[in-house]
């Protein structure tokens, strides 16, 4: 529908549900609502489509050969902020690039205050979210191995058997069995059986772009929904602000710009609005939408939008192993332990996971020998062989829980604007004081576990890096809670201030856990969808 407003034509798109953002959390919500309600659904994505499955072999080849980005047109020039952010603005979002590691958060993640006296409890428990973990795993297709139930609780089996171990990883697993630390296979959103019409993994080790479709990417879900006529997907359209119904706190319109016709504004009108724009752009949109009733931004009566930005840091190291491995046969699989994410009672707080990969660190070909002399041809090969014949390397990494400060914050940066003149987000992450006090203890504890692993192999720790200060799998900014004074959304992702506005996934996190976060973002989004369903026409 188009309407003339002044001299410009304003396009109006109406639906029951308007989902802002076209990433993995949007795909989860759209899919569930499409299946379980009769609602009309519009998904608005600022980016466009990137390489189709057919094109991924070619882009993969160039990525391998030259390190080129295998996802063409996956960002918008000038639409970028400061601080740890993804620049993927594209149908499918950052999960076009992702590796697909999908561990669950542990029960402890939801009860940090009750169990350990740190940070805040979530308004939901592990038991509340568990069915949605399962649902998310089934929607994307997860291949996993059941770990020890006390560290890997689940009510149903994984949808698919685990990815097989490579020869090297199988030897590494034998090594870990000499310790009291249980390891099992990392769960992956990669097929070990044909799943939803997608192929089985072929072990080709370029998972950031999968040429076979074995790795789940959200475009597959959108394509299915489009084919079934269940959604409208409006691409290259950036939502710039949300505005209210006159005299009410309900959202009436998402005002957007079609990047191909910037002079013709687009209005999305809906009964329910869902912000699924990821950890950065969700808070950003709320802040941009300030008006006279909400001068600090929508959903921000208590000033919590953009606060408690969270994620986790990691410590990484390399271990010399006295065994011959063959790195390169299935590098993208790894071993996982969640033993220390569920540590039981603690004197001092530290929680982390452990992951192990094969590695060729210190065992790559080189041009100079031990004494710095230049090597030629066969000498290079001989030197390389000597370093791989009876020894090898493993990479070990621990994501650890870092508790966010209230001032870990996303704000609007007036000094950096996009082509439309809108201020871009700036994220200044900051750990809570209690977390800063725990840093040395955390690093010492984890380093001790790296040493323990190395000793069990009869090997040695080759190196341990400094803590990565990148807030991985970031979330927060619209944290959930029962008390509007300290949170932005309720347990269902519904904003306290606007009854028809939901924020889903990453932004609603209370703390960042010590596991890759996307499965949890998806499970939270599905919980939100369950609540939305109640007010939508039935299927």
């Amino acid at each position: 529908m188009s309407r003339a407003v002044g001299r410009t034509t304003r396009r109006v798109v109406e639906s029951d549900v308007c989902i802002i953002g076209g990433g993995i959390t949007a795909a989860m919500v759209a899919e569930r609502l499409a299946e379980r309600t009769g609602a009309s659904i519009t998904v608005v994505e600022a980016g466009e489509r990137t390489a189709s499955l057919d094109e991924r072999s070619d882009t993969r080849a160039r990525m391998l050969a030259y390190g080129e980005n295998p996802w063409p047109n996956d960002h918008i020039r000038g639409q970028t902020g400061t601080g740890a952010m993804y620049n993927s603005m594209v149908v499918g979002g950052a999960a076009m690039h992702w590796g697909g590691a999908v561990p669950r958060f542990s029960p402890e993640d939801f009860r940090l205050r009750s169990l350990y006296g740190v940070a805040s409890d979530w308004p939901i428990s592990f038991d509340d979210i568990e069915p949605y973990f399962q649902e998310a795993e089934e929607r994307m297709g997860v291949a996993g191995e059941q770990g020890p139930p006390e560290y890997d609780p689940r009510s149903k089996p994984y949808p698919m058997p685990p990815l097989p171990l490579s020869y090297s990883l199988a030897r590494m697993r034998e090594w870990t069995e000499k310790t009291d630390i249980p390891f099992w296979t990392q769960p992956w959103a990669r097929n070990t059986e044909p799943y939803q019409g997608r192929d089985v993994c072929r072990r080709c080790d370029t998972c950031f772009v999968c040429p076979t479709g074995a790795k789940y990417t959200p475009d597959f879900a959108f394509d299915r929904l489009l084919e079934a006529g269940r959604i409208d997907l409006v691409t290259r359209t950036l939502v710039r602000r949300l505005s209210l119904e006159p005299g009410s706190d309900r959202i009436a319109v998402a005002e957007a710009v079609d990047r191909d016709a910037p002079d013709e504004p687009v209005e999305f009108r809906a009964g329910t609005f869902v912000i699924a724009a990821g950890h950065a752009w969700s808070s950003h949109l709320l802040l941009l939408s300030a008006n006279s009733r909400f001068p600090d931004g929508l959903a921000n009566r208590t000033g919590n939008v953009g606060r408690y930005m969270t994620g986790h840091w990691y410590l990484s190291g390399f271990i010399n192993l006295p065994m011959r491995l063959y790195p390169g046969m299935f590098v993208y699989n790894s071993l996982l332990s969640r033993r220390f994410a569920s540590p039981g009672p603690l004197d001092r707080y530290v929680r982390h996971d452990l992951r192990l990969w094969e590695s060729n660190v210190g065992r790559a070909p080189r041009l100079t020998g031990e004494n710095g002399q230049l090597l030629w041809g066969d000498e290079i090969m001989a030197d390389w062989r000597a370093r791989t014949e009876s020894e090898s390397s493993a990479r070990v990494r621990a994501y650890y829980d870092l508790l966010p400060d209230r001032d870990s914050r996303l704000t609007l940066d007036a000094g950096r604007t996009n082509e439309l003149g809108d201020p871009m987000p700036r994220i200044d992450y900051r750990p809570a004081q209690e977390s800063i006090g725990l840093q040395d203890h955390t690093v010492e504890t984890i380093s001790g576990r790296f040493e323990q692993l190395a000793r069990a192999a009869g090997g040695s720790v080759r190196s341990i890096g400094r803590p990565s200060e990148l807030w991985e799998h970031p979330g927060g900014g619209c944290r959930m809670g029962n008390d509007p004074a300290t949170s932005v959304v309720d347990r269902w992702g519904r904003t306290h201030d606007h009854e028809n506005l939901f924020v889903v996934g990453a932004p609603t996190l209370v703390s960042g856990g010590c596991a890759n976060g996307t499965l949890t973002f998806c499970a939270l989004s599905l919980m939100s969808a369950e609540e939305m369903q109640k007010e939508l026409p039935s299927a």
Partner: protein
């Protein structure tokens, strides 16, 4: 051992010839190594690298165990790779870094000039072309450009000198890894999910 390596090198060439260039058919060889699946999209014609000098360099720096055929294949792979290289291409995004990064300017005019320079230097010092100079003499000429390279090989497109680029391209390939380990590891090859745990077969014995 030498026999099985030769068989391996022949087989890997046959595998490349047989696979389709789209899709990831089981057995598809990583384009990185062979360069066959790479196509240019920027429509420009790259500066060719002087072929004879490049081969003269290869003989001095690549392993003898490749034999003449294997060395020629490695040089051809490097040439194809270099022909399909696109300068200032958008690079893979590093995790959680919002800035977009691009590859550097075209290294090939510089590489071609370096090869021509080596040829001239050889002529003036020794009165013969590089390919006709004894291998130790060639290495003496090549030691200088390699002296500043550092121990690691890095990505070939980032190499300042063509000799480092050739070495990085070959030693970074799946074929070089297999030769080093004497096993058919076949990095980045599409294959069945079955049999993942098996020790990779010795070279020559691999199907």
């Amino acid at each position: 051992m030498a026999e099985s390596r030769r068989t391996f090198l022949k087989q890997s060439a046959a595998t490349v010839a047989a696979v389709s260039l789209t899709g990831c058919a089981p057995g598809e060889r990583a384009a990185e190594t062979e360069g066959d699946a790479l196509s240019r999209t920027d429509g420009t014609t790259p500066v060719p690298l002087p072929a004879a000098t490049l081969r003269g360099v290869a003989e001095a720096v690549l392993p003898d165990e490749l034999g003449e055929d294997g060395r020629e294949r490695a040089v051809r792979a490097f040439e194809r790779w270099s022909e399909a290289l696109e300068p200032v291409a958008e690079l893979s995004h590093p995790y959680l870094v919002p800035e977009i990064r691009y590859s550097g300017p075209d290294p090939r005019p510089g590489w071609a000039a370096q090869l021509e320079g080596l040829e001239k230097e050889c002529e003036s010092r020794h009165g013969v072309s590089l390919s006709d100079l004894e291998v130790p003499g060639r290495r003496e000429l090549l030691a200088r450009p390699l002296a500043d390279t550092g121990p690691g090989l890095g990505a070939p497109q980032n190499a300042d000198h063509v000799v480092a680029a050739l070495l990085a391209h070959f030693f970074g390939s799946a074929i070089a890894t297999d030769l080093c380990y004497g096993r058919a590891i076949r990095r980045e090859l599409c294959r069945s999910i079955e049999g993942a745990e098996e020790e990779p077969a010795p070279l020559g014995a691999a199907p």
